[in-house]
Amino acid sequence: MNKGHCTFGRRIIARVRSGGGPPHSRTLRAIRQSFVNAKGLVLAALLAFSAAGQTAPSSSTNADALLFRDGDLLYGELLAIDPQSSVRWKHPDAAQAIEFKPESVAQIDFPLVKSPGVLSTNACRILLASGDSLEGEFLSCDRQTLAVQTWYAGRLNIARTSLQSLVFLRPSPAIFDGIRGLEGWTQVTSAAALPGESGQWTYRNGAFYAGKTSSIARDLHLPDMADIQFDVAWKGVLNLAVALYTDSLQPVPLNLKEQAPDFGGFYSFSFQSSILIDMRAIKKMEPLRSLGQSILPSLSKKERIHVDFHVSKAQHKISLSLDDVLVKEWVDPQGFIGEGTAMRFVQNPGSIIKLSNLRITRWDGIFQEPATGPGDVCWLENGERIPGTIESINAEQMAVRTSNGPITIPYNQLKAVNFAAVKPNTVASQTANARATFAEGGGLTFILDSWRPNEMVVRSADFGKVRINPAAFTRLQFLSPDKKPVPEPKG
């Protein structure tokens, strides 16, 4: 999937990744911590946090994980949910299925299952006014309804008044898609590390981990127009440097850069002390140039972010989005100084860190402003912005009523749509009893009528009663009966 395809329209992509990406059972102890802390208690097993390269208990690797409201945690297999009566659970050491009270359950995490969805020219991501989001195959849209075909729930008809935005996910072959191992990467001991302080990145389950000062780099053949995405999770104080468009696989100690082996210019993004992001242009025999910092106090409250760089060499511009919210755009007034096509990640002291979901694609290079105003706004592939009222969209064209009269736009030129602002359905959100998170990000809030291994029945204020294949989700959260928000899991 082409997640968070572009930065345009903060309104479009904001909250698409709320929840911080797919969960993983190994982080459940950390998640449990958030629940326990929420009660003013502290988890005795905090120090068993696993992101530092700990091997997950083997029996839990492919198990479902049941997290209770009191912070308890039990691995096993979900058998059934009947929200009015019980959550049935199979545990390998229990002879009988266990029935838990639904009101005691906070969430259930499921092992990641690869989505069978096929990205086509009709693939789209839909963001609802409620903050929910989903992906599917676009079918049609008129003044009442948007229809989308999904692999997990068939055809969904979503009320137009529920829509916030629609983004077409045009196929774009990835230049690099996912960390598969250490092969092809170059690790170098940091010259700046004190004796005993340097370490190595380790690989496990699609992610790199580091707990000590360490550098890992690779020529990823970054294109001139690039979308570079990855996830970072950490414990401690985030202190990561990311070099873009470098030609050197060796880390460069800034205070000794003139003595370092020759290297070409590159850009360095420094995530320091969990609150500061600094972009610097670094070149040999030239002073360091900071192109601007961004202070993000909210980052200190997080332990995981989705990082998304958009780069336009021609425009000398790099933008950074965190969790799909644009943080800053940097423009180098001296022109683009990156001389290579490699990336380098340097872990500096302060945290245990995990890198995953590294994906690099060519980008169309459109930097757009977010939509404003009460009407619909369409964006085209060429970057053009068209305000108006959308009458319909089908496989051939989009019909828009603009201030200059009605026009039609070929379907294949559509990039995205921001629908006129609507008021979220607060009544619906108050009656919902569950929220499910998709493996690829985003999620749905609904009334869960039942859950079985092959089918869950839900009622949504946005698309009515549907049957969903549970394999679509990696997490199912039970909303608190008193409607207080459940602590946001950190996994």
């Binding site: 802390n37 905090l46 700990q54 700046a192 401690g236 070099a243």
Partner: protein
């Protein structure tokens, strides 16, 4: 086992001596945090804790257990009690294990990993006689014992806690300062955790210290809990890398006396270690051991001058680090030598003496207060008070395989025993030990029950915390 059939003891009156609550505390001059009202901690109300080897954990109550039907667990979130098999259970921690008052003279460490506190009554070529809290006249094979540690005179366990938080007081309470959960005190922000122990003699203070990031933990020993701003105390200043000792005496109007720092012996870079603080009043020394390795022994040339009786933990720095304390144990003793905290594995019997000398040979017997040591052709008669530790020659026999219901009980006050569990009811726990034969206890006498004894418990790596200039880019 000969003479040890069906041991059963009901300890009806087990109390901790002299653990009165403390009055409102005021941080002394070295403390960064502001004075605040003291808040006594409530006992944990979450019940017993069942932990699995895969990291699962369930609170609740053990209703019964036997090999035929499994472990009968009542969990408040479950509609009915759950029957678990033992295959993946790590341990059960019991919240309300009875407190115990012990005055042992020796600690036995067995080859199978068990240990007991009590008194050695006899030793010959084959068997060792021992008196302990649940049986006054045990005898068992000498080959089952790895080490005998003779404790300092008048050794008494004052506190073996972390069963609950009663008696502890928190200063500067805020949502992330000290709290208690599942046997562990945790703090993620500055605050104090203190308790009056009425320490008067020398002492051994032990605890497990865990952390997840750079931290600073101050441990005030022999602190005057009633007058923190005026009483003198020694303060051990722990960071992940080192420990420092200083003496604070506000009455002298002088800066704290600094005795210097020492690296924390933690070569594996763990983020959880066992800390032992030996305060020897007679010698005027304070020593810190980390995982039984001496970090440093400081000597106060003016003699041991701290005059309080309490212990105060204070997390400093606004680092966001979480510091955890568990298995806190405080014992008191008299005399010039400290209880040994280390032991050696040898192929001959090894004696350690109070002057720190060692001697190897074959221990023939312990009788009438003397130990007979055969060194070649010579048989030495050594007064037992001169001996601090006996390490028996390691047995070449491999350990027998453990069954699924072989469990290890850990007792309040110290000591642990493994046995084949036969039945656990609300009245009695029964089992059979390869060393002692049949055993029976009251459930309330057990603090923790471990399963799958050969399962490696997960250890975690430390977080790097050193800051330096010239970060790589």
């Amino acid at each position: 086992m000969k003479g040890n059939a069906a041991l059963f003891l009901v300890l009806s009156c087990l109390v901790l001596p002299g653990l009165a609550g403390v009055r409102a505390q005021q941080p002394g001059p070295l403390f960064f945090v502001q004075p605040a009202a003291n808040v006594p901690m409530a006992a944990s109300v979450e019940g017993d804790l069942l932990e699995f080897v895969d990291g699962s954990l369930l609170h609740g109550e053990l209703k019964g257990m036997d090999p035929a039907t499994g472990l009968h667990w009542e969990n408040p979130s479950a509609r009915n009690p759950i029957d678990f098999g033992p295959a993946h259970i790590d341990s059960i921690r019991f919240t309300h294990a009875a407190a115990v008052s012990l005055a042992p003279t020796a600690q036995l460490r067995f080859v199978n990993g068990d240990d007991l506190l009590g008194s050695v009554t006899s030793l010959d070529d084959d068997r060792l006689g021992f008196s302990t809290w649940f049986a006054p006249a045990l005898t068992f094979p000498r080959a089952s014992v790895q080490t005998i540690t003779f404790l300092s005179s008048n050794y008494i366990v004052l506190y073996d806690g972390s069963g609950d938080a009663r008696g502890w007081n928190i200063g500067n309470r805020n949502p992330e300062s000290w709290s208690f959960h599942d046997g562990t005190f945790s703090s993620s922000s500055p605050g104090t955790l203190g308790r009056e122990f009425k320490l008067s003699g020398s002492s051994t203070i032990e605890f497990d210290l865990g952390w997840n990031d750079s931290f600073q933990l101050l441990v005030s020993i022999y602190a005057d809990m009633d007058h923190l701003d005026s009483g003198s105390s020694y303060i051990l200043d722990f960071t992940p890398k080192e420990v420092n000792l200083r003496l604070v005496d506000p009455t002298r109007q002088t800066p704290p006396k600094n005795y210097g720092s020492a690296p924390l012996p933690n070569p594996a870079g763990k983020n959880k270690v066992h800390v032992t603080i030996q305060s020897n009043k007679a010698e005027g020394t304070v020593a810190v051991f980390v995982d039984n390795v001496l970090a440093k022994r400081w000597k106060d040339e003016n003699g041991f001058t701290a005059n309080g009786g309490g212990i105060l933990f204070q997390q400093d720095w606004m680092t966001g680090a979480t510091v955890q304390l568990s298995h806190i144990k405080v014992s008191q003793w008299q005399g010039r030598y400290e209880p040994e905290t280390t032991f050696v594995a040898t192929n001959v019997d090894v004696l350690r003496f109070i002057n720190h000398d060692q001697a190897g040979g074959k221990i023939a017997a312990i009788k009438d207060g003397k130990l007979s040591l055969a060194m070649g052709e010579t048989l030495l008669q050594i007064p037992l008070p001169r001996v601090t530790q006996i390490n028996f020659a390691a047995s070449p026999a491999p350990a027998p395989p453990r069954g699924p219901w072989e469990v290890r009980a850990r007792f309040p006050g110290g000591g642990s025993l493994s046995f084949q569990l036969q039945k656990w009811s609300d009245k009695e726990v029964s089992g059979r030990s390869a060393i002692f034969g049949s055993l029976a206890f009251q459930p309330g006498q057990i603090r923790q029950l471990e399963f799958n004894l050969d399962h490696a418990r997960i250890a975690t790596p430390a977080v790097i915390n050193r800051e330096f200039e010239g970060l790589d880019e």
